[in-house]
């Protein structure tokens, strides 16, 4: 909402959101600065200098390499949705609050909106598209259907990925552990009762040999 040219308004600094948009979605207070020197530390994380313009990167997604050319400020979520047409992960809160963009990276559930695509190189990324390949529903997805753990469904892919990562580490979860383990995902329609049941049941099913 803020921009530099307004006059007569209250003094403004750099907001957290503006900063985040600058590095991620562009357009914030640092958006332009980011095209210069600010881009370098981020590129350095990948071991070389890249940017400010589009740079070639390779992402390892669902077992396959994908080559794409993106600006260093492009997030993993933006890369998935807008460059690779993998739209299961959703953009909701814009920045690390809601978990709708959850993917599994190097075995951990992460918010794809809060990771730069360039930094996701060299790590195995699993998205919801890779979970039920071949048309057969993954046990977690199937449990979400059975327990009606979804209404509008916009948060569901993120929840399913978070649940999968959670069950991988907690094969015998209690309801209380599910509530803690999935506390990083928000649903607006209010499907939590179904989600709790679905995760407990999916964990049982996955032990029973349905593990994908």
């Amino acid at each position: 909402m803020s921009h530099k040219q307004d006059s007569g308004g209250p003094p403004k600094g750099v907001s957290r959101r503006g900063f985040m948009r600058g590095v991620g979605l562009g357009g914030g207070a640092l958006g332009v600065v980011n095209q210069g020197a600010q881009a370098e530390p981020q590129a350095a994380a990948a071991g070389r200098t890249a940017g400010p313009g589009p740079a070639p990167i390779t992402l390892q997604i669902n077992g396959k390499p994908y080559n794409l050319t993106v600006e260093p400020r492009v997030t993993l979520l933006d890369a998935l949705r807008n460059h690779l047409n993998m739209t299961g992960a959703k953009q909701v809160c814009d920045r690390g609050n809601c978990g709708a963009c959850t993917v599994i990276m190097a075995g951990k559930a992460v918010y794809a909106c809060s990771i730069l695509a360039i930094d996701a190189q060299g790590k195995e990324i699993q998205t919801i598209e890779g979970l039920s390949e071949g048309g057969k529903l993954h046990p977690v997805s199937a449990a979400f259907v059975r327990h009606d753990a979804q209404q509008c469904g916009y948060c569901t892919p993120g929840f399913v990925m978070a649940a999968k990562a959670f069950i991988d580490k907690n094969p015998n979860p209690t309801i209380e552990q599910v509530e803690t383990g999935l506390g990083g995902n928000l649903c607006r329609c209010g499907t939590y009762v179904g989600v709790r049941q679905a995760v407990v049941e999916a964990a049982k099913a996955m032990k029973g040999g349905q593990r994908a």
């Binding site: 953009q91 919801i128 209404q151 803690t180």
Partner: protein, 712 residues
């Protein structure tokens, strides 16, 4: 003409069964495509620049630098010089570019000069509102002065319930492509059949040029009916970019600032009563804001509308903020909260169990028997008799447990809806409606009704919704969808089946009226051996496809759907009096809702409503305005709080499914259970800690402040 009615309970094969939603696998595997997931060749990304001031006049706007930015294909001014912006977040300009990043970069290069004007955003402090307050005038019933003069007991209280936002997870926006005479509009809307016409009117093109598409949508809750400024400007950007598709969705801060909110409500309420708890008089001074345009009067006294003596004064307060939109059961949560917190406080003053007081006043409602039975059921399911205690009498530990209750009402009769059924010679069936599934399970309900009518399994019918080329069906608001689409689908499928019977009857040596469709067979009633399989029957159509319509006319629903329901909710909470944290242990919801097509998704509606509106509204959600800048302070999920999975406790849903409910026909369920929860929780907290926290949400600071007042 077939006779249109629901099959008798004992003959139903699908209706009333717990069927998993048919689009569930698509959603839980990430395959479901929402408007915001749509990509088309040459897709451009749009972004909107909004006004940072709560009240300002645009004096100049210079887009030249933005236009010159490489990758930018079009720039549009929405609020040109001279435009008065009445709230922060007013749309000022928009760009389309080859990437989201370039679009945001370009926005920042647009130079806007504003003349900043005075603003007002405080909706609670009525005396401060001055000319921004518009009294609606006094409403009188009976003789309230006499009622209060002669009352055995009176009570006076103050209550407040704030503005909150819709916070749809899929933000508002669209992908749109305007090429030549054709506009393709991939939406996120509650109004598939109506939004195209709305856009066409704004663009001054024939409605026939607009083609709306929507497979799935990520939440609306009453905020997604119209084409909006961003739809119009998106179309213009597409046209100006040579017809390339433009994707423009609001970022979260803008979504929470301008894309939907609920009116607030504040009131001083006086009750007159007899010593036995029967209410004899009501007096209220209430006010609320529905944003800059004001509005949003809560219907008080709520449910207990027959209080014989009433004096009411309501004032609409205009603030510099977005206009309110319908928020799941518009004005009902507010009315329920104002009315029934006061009733609960009256019970406390009389040292009465509020359950007893509410029961005693059921004769002041429109459906006394329904509510009495529901109060009894809710008391049983919540273990009220054992767990309830007089207010504040909650033991010596610092965690206090309490119970509270509330009741509510809603309409929910079916909207206008048309359905087209096609039966093809190969036996496949298509059901087409210009409707939408908000996540309520509409698609599944349509499939179940169609399959039930045709004697087929659910997966044998293909439900096609979400296209404006399909027969028009009403917008999904007011819990009108399930009644509308189930009735039109029932009629349309029965009409199509009658045509099939006409074709098949000679082969079975019977007349069409002697046939029935059961278990994927067309058979002679009373002689099931004389039958054809569905496939064999349809082959008799030769090359002809049956196509028949069915319509729900809200003025004459013919017994298939109706409206008017009651519900009761009880909350069981624990309050930590050292931290002020409120924890929901259990919510019990007893709900009347007519004939239930799918108990599984019906229960989900109740569960969702209780969490979305009850728990979130009672404990977490509130739009906070900064008085100095006039902006929304908490326009992010960091500070605009929603309940998480660990915040909801146990939820028990009891749907009234007795024959007397079933025979009423279908009634909508999205809204009624979204009403009473806030009040039940607030009353439970008062019961636990012995003092009323006047304003929701019941955040720790408010709980602690109330405790301090009690101890002072």
């Amino acid at each position: 003409m077939p006779e249109y009615s629901w099959p008798p309970v004992e003959k139903r094969k699908l209706i009333g069964k717990r069927i998993s939603r048919i689009d569930g696998p698509d959603k839980s595997s990430g395959r479901a495509k929402y408007g915001s997931d749509i990509s088309r060749p040459g897709l451009l990304h749009g972004a909107i620049l909004t006004c940072p001031h709560a009240h300002a006049r645009v004096t100049s706007i210079d887009t030249s630098a933005a236009e010159k930015t490489p990758g930018v294909t079009a720039v549009r001014v929405i609020s040109g010089p001279g435009t008065e912006c009445q709230w922060a977040g007013t749309e000022v300009a928009a760009v389309a570019a080859t990437s989201e990043q370039i679009a945001w970069d370009a926005l920042r290069k647009i130079k806007v000069q504003y003349e900043v004007l005075p603003h007002f955003v405080d909706d609670e402090d009525l005396p401060k509102a001055g000319a921004r307050a518009k009294p609606a005038g006094e409403q009188l019933t009976g003789d309230p002065e006499k009622a209060f003069r002669e009352a055995e007991v009176t009570f006076e209280g103050y209550y407040g319930i704030p503005v909150l936002t819709h916070a749809c997870h899929e933000p508002h926006g669209q992908v749109i492509m305007w090429k030549g005479d054709r506009i393709d509009f991939w939406c996120t809307t509650q109004n598939v059949s109506g939004i195209g016409g709305d856009l066409a009117t704004s663009l001054k093109v024939p409605a026939t040029n607009v083609h709306v598409h929507q497979d799935h949508m990520g939440g609306g809750f009453g905020s997604k009916f119209s084409a909006e400024r961003w739809g119009v400007v998106g179309a213009e950007l597409s046209k100006a970019s040579g017809g390339r598709p433009v994707k423009l969705f609001l970022d979260r801060a803008t979504e929470l600032t301008i894309a939907g909110c609920r009116p607030s409500a504040y009131a001083r309420i006086k009750l007159a009563a007899r010593k036995d708890g029967v209410i004899t008089g009501w007096e209220s001074q209430s006010w609320s804001t529905g944003g800059f345009t004001g509005g949003g009067a809560p219907p008080i006294p709520y449910v207990f509308t027959e209080i014989p003596n009433q004096k009411k004064n309501h004032t609409a307060v205009s603030v510099n903020a977005q206009a309110a939109r319908a928020w799941r059961a518009p004005n009902h949560q507010q009315a329920c909260y104002l009315t029934q917190c006061a009733m609960d406080d009256l019970a406390a003053k009389l040292n009465m169990d509020p359950l007893e007081l509410f029961m005693k006043n059921c004769d002041l409602t429109g459906r006394p028997d329904v509510y009495r039975a529901q109060f009894q059921k809710a008391a049983e399911l919540s273990d009220w008799k054992r767990l309830w205690h007089p207010r504040g009498d909650s033991g010596s530990g610092h965690v206090k447990r309490g119970l509270g209750l509330a009741c509510h009402t809603w309409g929910g009769a079916g909207h206008a809806s048309q359905c087209r059924t096609k039966i093809h010679p190969d036996g496949s069936v298509e059901i087409e409606l210009g409707s939408q599934d908000l996540g309520t399970g509409t698609r599944t309900v349509i499939a179940m009704v169609a399959a039930e009518s045709l004697g087929l399994p659910v997966n044998a019918v293909k439900v096609k919704i979400g296209e404006s080329d399909y027969p028009p069906s009403g917008a999904s608001g007011g819990s009108t969808t399930v009644g509308g689409v189930s009735s039109s689908t029932r009629k349309s499928t029965l009409n199509a089946l009658a045509k099939l019977f006409e074709v098949v009857a000679p082969a079975l040596g019977a007349t069409p009226d002697q046939l029935e469709a059961v278990d994927s067979r067309i058979r002679v009633k009373g002689n099931p051996a004389k039958a054809l399989t569905w496939q064999a029957a349809c082959r008799k159509l030769g090359a002809r496809t049956i196509m028949e319509m069915g319509e729900n006319n809200p003025r004459n629903p013919g017994g298939l759907n109706t409206g008017g329901v009651g519900g009761v909710q009880v909350a069981d909470v624990s309050v930590d009096t050292e931290t002020g944290l409120v924890k929901v242990n259990k919510i019990v919801a007893v709900q009347d809702c007519g004939l239930i097509i799918n108990p599984k998704t019906a229960e989900s509606q109740c569960l969702g409503a209780i969490i979305f509106a009850g728990i979130c509204g009672a404990l977490y959600e509130e739009r906070i305005m900064d008085q100095q800048t006039g902006r929304v302070v908490n326009s992010s999920y960091d500070f605009y709080k929603l309940a998480g999975i660990g915040d909801v406790g146990q939820i028990v849903v009891h749907l009234n499914m007795e024959p007397e409910h079933d025979k009423r026909g279908v009634v909508g369920l999205g809204e009624p259970p979204a009403i009473g929860g806030i009040t039940a929780i607030a009353n439970a907290v008062a019961n636990a800690i012995g003092v009323r926290v006047t304003n929701v949400p019941l955040t720790p600071d408010r709980v602690l402040a109330a405790l301090e007042r009690r101890n002072a």
